[in-house]
Symmetry: C2
Subunit: 395 residues, 2 copies
């Protein structure tokens, strides 16, 4: 069954948007809902909004909506902060679960902030922990007996290469390590069976395939049987058992609620909650089938039209998330030229042109049209034009 | 000169809002600006918004707007996350600056989340640090030679009692301790001379007197001469020197930018940026004079009308922030009755009725009208009514 529902998004006319793996487009339901939260809730109810408008419960309520898309049990996901903060929380809790071990294992395909947060935590602890970073293909064999935590992003942000969540989690557990999955490029992109994987922790962001908007809050999952034992490093008042008792001493809330920290970002959560409505009735297997079809079409079309581009993503769809990357020595300027032609992808140094495929609002026709424009840009050597060569920030 | 500018706020008809110390009302400029950020920026520009619409620079740009209201140097304040997270960042950095000391000193008038975050950090470090919590009046004398960090909220959230920032900072420095000020109830409430205080760190939230809306982001200040030396514990990619180089190793950005962590909450920052426009042309000395006048009128009126209420705030305006609290054994139910009469304050256990005075949108007439309604509630023993007695969450 088709999952295409372009009418639910506010996409600029003529734009082919293949960057939903970076920032999803605006779902049409969002502006009115956020406007209502501003004038009908904040403006009309002021402080009473915390009770009247359900703001206080929003991080859990929205957490459950996200949880459904990643195969998490109800009540096991909570929203808040940013992905970096959630990585830190998971990592700190995981290290506490293996006090006798000192190694955090990750790979060099992980998104840098995950590695930075690990570095910062290690430096801060000063207990001789180390971060071991290997090639993605070498991860499974690197899970040795000294590894406390395996921390991986399932889908590589550069190439779309996808780890086998279940197999690696099993391997980690066999070696006695705790498993943390970063689902930034998985949530809403591929079917995820978090509960079935047995992983202890998962984190992710919601501004990519979940279309929550710039700066949308992150999520964290804690396996339900562990959630009551986790010691929060970031022991904020909204993770307290009774925040409004204003006790001087911290007592963690039951379950994953203890991973809440400070006051939730109500406007961003409202945008996200509205954005998640586009997922009603979407079967993740259908989404995956559509995503694979779009990626396969794109690869075939681009390879046929542009022999100078080299596929940087796995050719086997089973090993790929919902994005396709090509390498080109002219990648940066070529991508600028493409963007000027309203085909929006992005560039990752040194030479990766990245395209995300989001079947909720990208059609087969879009993909074919995009490939044709890519051919025009490459054949026309548009990257030689000075206006495309200037270096600028690309997020 | 009057600072009253009620027309710039969207206040419900007939409501007297004395809870701006908890959540400020909706500034009229906010809805259109956030709507524009949704449809004109996110919707129209999608990923390009990070460059075209200045989203990436927003945390520093808005930080400077906040900085002006708290006497901070340009470029010394950055926005993001929540106050709890910012407390953690400041505290972790401060402890690293005094590796030979083990005590964090605070007081029992501090907002609990500050103490919780300290507890969590101490537990996590496992280096034998301790949190010493004394009475607010005892702080200055408790700054001993073993104190690494003095961490205080300047204005007590329950009583409005205000610490002398300059005197305590001097005392801390004389003892070799690092000073962290939480300005949650100071920013936009009283004149603050952060630069002049010499304090190393300050943090605060923006949803109270700065009217940034529910879940508005927090701020952190690092004294400029120290900012390049601070080791961020929360080493997120947007605090990296070159976030878009996607290096595997962390290198902190110059200055306070290193205290950024993850992707900034663009919608909340846009709301806050618009909200801060109401401060244009406000002289903080005028604001303070108006605030003191409102508080003095309120105390005089309530004491004259309601002898059963006991002033919980300092009587000397110089020792008080911009709020007034009264104790009453019927405080909870009486506050519910007041709220039902559209006089909005709040309650803090065990017996504190709390009223915030915000001269931008509260007038002398409002204060007198509120006092009269308080008298009616107290004289009429409205707290005896069952509808006001049920216990409920109050933020």
């Amino acid at each position: 069954m088709t999952v295409l529902r372009k009418h639910m998004f506010d996409l600029p006319d003529g734009m082919i948007y293949l960057d939903g793996n970076s920032l999803g487009p605006l779902p049409r339901a969002v502006p009115d809902r956020v406007a209502q939260a501003m004038t009908g809730q904040w403006g009309a109810h002021l402080i009473k909004g915390w009770n009247l408008d359900g703001w206080m419960a929003q991080p859990s309520r929205v957490g459950d909506l996200v949880g459904r898309l990643i195969g998490a049990q109800a009540g096991s996901v909570v929203m808040g902060d940013t992905l970096s903060i959630k990585v830190y929380q998971a990592l700190s809790a995981a290290l506490q679960m293996r006090p006798e071990r000192r190694v955090i294992l990750s790979d060099n395909g992980n998104f840098p902030t995950d590695l930075y947060m690990a570095e910062g935590l290690i430096r801060q602890l000063g207990h001789g922990h180390g971060l071991r970073v290997v090639d993605p293909e070498a991860v499974a064999d690197a899970i040795a007996d000294d590894v406390a935590v395996v921390m991986l992003t399932q889908v590589d942000y550069r190439t779309g290469r996808m780890h086998d969540m279940k197999a690696i989690t099993e391997r980690a557990h066999k070696a006695g390590a705790v498993m943390i999955w970063d689902l930034a490029h998985s949530a809403g992109a591929v079917p995820v069976d978090l509960a079935g994987s047995g992983a202890e922790f998962a984190v992710g962001c919601t501004y990519k395939y979940l279309n929550g908007g710039p700066g949308a809050p992150a999520f964290i999952y804690v396996r339900p049987d562990l959630a009551d034992q986790v010691e929060p490093a970031l022991a904020g008042w909204l993770g307290h058992e009774a925040p409004f008792a204003f006790d001087l001493a911290y007592r963690p809330a039951p379950g994953v609620e203890r991973m809440r920290v400070g006051t939730p970002p109500v406007l961003q959560l409202t945008a996200l909650e509205a954005a998640l409505e586009v997922w009603e009735g979407v079967d993740m297997a259908d989404l995956r089938a559509a995503s694979v079809a779009l990626c396969e079409t794109f690869i075939a079309e681009v390879e046929a039209r542009c022999p100078s581009l080299t596929l940087a993503s796995p050719r086997d769809p089973a090993q790929r998330g919902s994005q396709v990357s090509f390498r080109s020595e002219h990648g940066y300027a070529a991508m600028q030229a493409l963007i000027a032609r309203d085909v929006i992808g992005d560039f990752r140094a040194p030479d990766i042109m990245r395209f995300g495929f989001t079947p909720l609002y990208v059609s087969e026709g879009d993909v074919r049209a995009a490939a044709k424009i890519i051919e025009e840009v490459i054949d026309g050597r548009l990257w030689d034009r000075p206006e495309y060569m200037a270096r600028q920030r690309v997020t």
